[in-house]
């Protein structure tokens, strides 16, 4: 028994030494086995949750989890040691992937551009999944709407936003943003509720109460202050549908509202009912208030759209892709969060 313990200890020391001697510690592990697991153990803020996905039984049965996780770690440690020894013998053999990508790069300080140019593109496993796309059957209409919104920005919103920004100091504009963000509480409340995220529901209710009362009607985001630290839930209705597996449908550019899809239009339609501003009288007040909100927001983000457009070869395609990527990440983040909190709760039981 004691001998076993000693040998395990020795093994681990070896792996530490091998780890720190290597150029990059995690690279000694076969990609995707242990590195994510370790992160899962250490990861306070890492929600990728490879632990949960890789070993689904773990969350259900806390007992065997440690055993299983440990066996893998121990196995990896053994492999590490073997690999380290192998490396020593072979005299620093580089990874196969590396040699594929840059055959001449070894030892050379600066990568020789002309040589590197010759190596072909090889899709690799560790890379992002093939480009996410969205069907765009209404492209001619969408392009027209894109141009309309583009002109709306450059001819109206931007000049007005700039003038407004010169008159109203930035802190005041941020307060106005907070106010409107606080007003959008029903969206987040309902989204959390529909996602069965009751912690989120409670958080949002708490935020709304705190910000409305102590934040002077929502002008100050008191909840996000360092003392309270109740972050805003990054949720909306389109995302909620996405979490439940509803696809985009197709790409759709709304006049004024901008890039959206069939699914994400839920927010635009839902807005008519959920946004308190729309219940104001007389009939033109909502439009005026939303116009002001848009000007305020524009004044805080001048330059962003210009940069995006300036960098694009085809701005329409670039924005469409940015929209798809952004929405996908937002939904994925939520899914991971749900899985994560779900597994934590089962473990507690």
């Amino acid at each position: 028994m004691k001998k076993l313990r000693l040998s395990v200890f020795f093994l681990l020391v070896l792996s530490i030494v091998a780890g720190s001697a290597d150029r990059s510690d995690a690279s000694i592990f076969p990609a995707g086995t242990v590195a994510p697991l370790q992160q899962g153990i250490a990861g306070e803020s890492i929600h990728e949750a490879p632990v949960v996905r890789g070993l689904p039984e773990m969350s259900a049965t806390p007992g065997p989890m440690h055993v299983q996780g440990m066996q893998i770690c121990a196995a990896a440690a053994v492999r590490t040691e073997e690999k380290a020894e192998g490396d020593e013998e072979a005299g620093n053999v580089s990874d196969p992937m590396e040699s594929l990508n840059a055959p001449e790069a070894e030892g050379a300080e600066e990568t020789d551009v002309s040589d590197d140019l010759e190596s072909d593109y090889l899709p690799e496993e560790g890379e992002e999944q093939p480009t996410v796309t969205i069907s765009d059957p209404l492209e001619p209409f969408n392009r027209a709407m894109y141009h309309f919104n583009d002109k709306l920005y450059f001819w109206l919103l931007k000049p007005v936003g700039q003038a407004y920004g010169k008159v109203v100091p930035e802190p005041a504009r941020i307060s106005v943003r907070n106010f409107f963000s606080n007003l959008a509480f029903p969206f987040r409340f309902l989204s959390c509720l529909l996602q069965a995220d009751f912690r989120g529901v409670a958080t949002e209710t708490g935020r709304f109460t705190v910000n409305t009362i102590w934040g002077i009607g929502g002008f100050l985001d008191a909840s996000s202050s360092r003392e309270l630290n109740i972050p805003k839930q990054d949720v909306d209705l389109g995302q909620t549908l996405g979490v439940y597996g509803v696809g985009h449908g197709f790409y759709f550019v709304w006049p004024v509202f901008g890039p959206s899809s069939l699914r994400d239009s839920a927010d635009i339609v839902g807005g008519f009912f959920l946004d308190p501003v729309n219940y104001l009288n007389p009939w033109y007040t909502p439009a005026a208030v939303h116009g002001y909100e848009a000007v305020n927001e524009t004044s805080l983000t001048i330059g962003d759209y210009e940069a995006l457009k300036g960098a694009a070869i085809d701005p329409y395609v670039s924005i469409r892709d940015a929209f798809v990527q952004y929405r996908k990440k937002k939904i994925d983040a939520r899914k991971v969060k749900m899985e994560h909190s779900g597994s934590v709760e089962t473990q507690k039981k």
């Binding site: 530490i16 690279s27 121990a74 070869i313 892709d321 990527q325």
Partner: protein, 198 residues
């Protein structure tokens, strides 16, 4: 037996910091970003007339920080293989100019925003992701650098801003163009773009 488990777990905990916070990719990115900030903050380069000097200095840092060829190769993806050597070289050159013209003003307009380096995550044996944030008075912008190791040096091959990957964004655009047209026509489009930007 239980004692043994405890020991092993304890030792594994000891092992964690060395692998999770190893930090070579993160350090590399941080060092380069700090160099950029140094140039931007340099009081001697404050006057408008020093803009070209500033640009020149930033270009040198860019070359050290980014793997241009990798960046271009990934942006074109499978279409990269249908370009010949000369076309590839020109593409890398043009793509770099497009990026430089598009972002240089944004970078030069830097005014004391805080940059936070959060963590790194290994994507594979020689690829990693470094998460950072730019904190301004009105917002926080998450920026992730994807880095690849070649010849012992970590270089950036993709930048993810607000969850949107730069490379993937360009890949969609280039794909759209190259699906119906020849590489030469893409180069022509890029040449036009560079001219427009200036």
């Amino acid at each position: 037996m239980k004692r043994l488990f405890m020991d092993v777990i304890f030792l594994l905990l000891l092992l964690l910091p060395s692998s999770v916070f190893a930090g070579v990719p993160l350090d590399t990115v941080q060092v380069n970003v700090n160099k950029v900030l140094e140039v931007l903050r340099d009081p001697a380069l404050k006057p408008v007339s020093a803009k070209t000097v500033k640009k020149e200095k930033l270009r040198v840092i860019y070359e050290r920080m980014f793997d241009e060829v990798e960046l271009s190769r990934r942006a074109l993806a499978r279409h990269w293989n249908s370009l010949n050597a000369a076309q590839r070289q020109e593409f890398v050159h043009l793509f770099r100019q497009v990026l430089e013209n598009a972002y240089i003003d944004k970078i030069l307009s830097y005014t004391n925003e805080k940059i936070v380096f959060d963590r790194e995550r290994m994507l594979s044996a020689n690829q990693a992701e470094v998460t950072t944030r730019i904190v301004t008075s009105s917002k926080t912008i998450p920026i992730t650098y994807r880095v690849i190791q070649k010849g012992g040096i970590w270089k950036v091959y993709d930048v993810v801003v607000e969850n949107v990957s730069l490379i993937q964004n360009y890949r969609t655009q280039f794909n759209e163009i190259l699906n119906g047209q020849k590489p030469e026509q893409l180069l022509q489009t890029l040449r036009k773009k560079v001219k427009e930007q200036q």
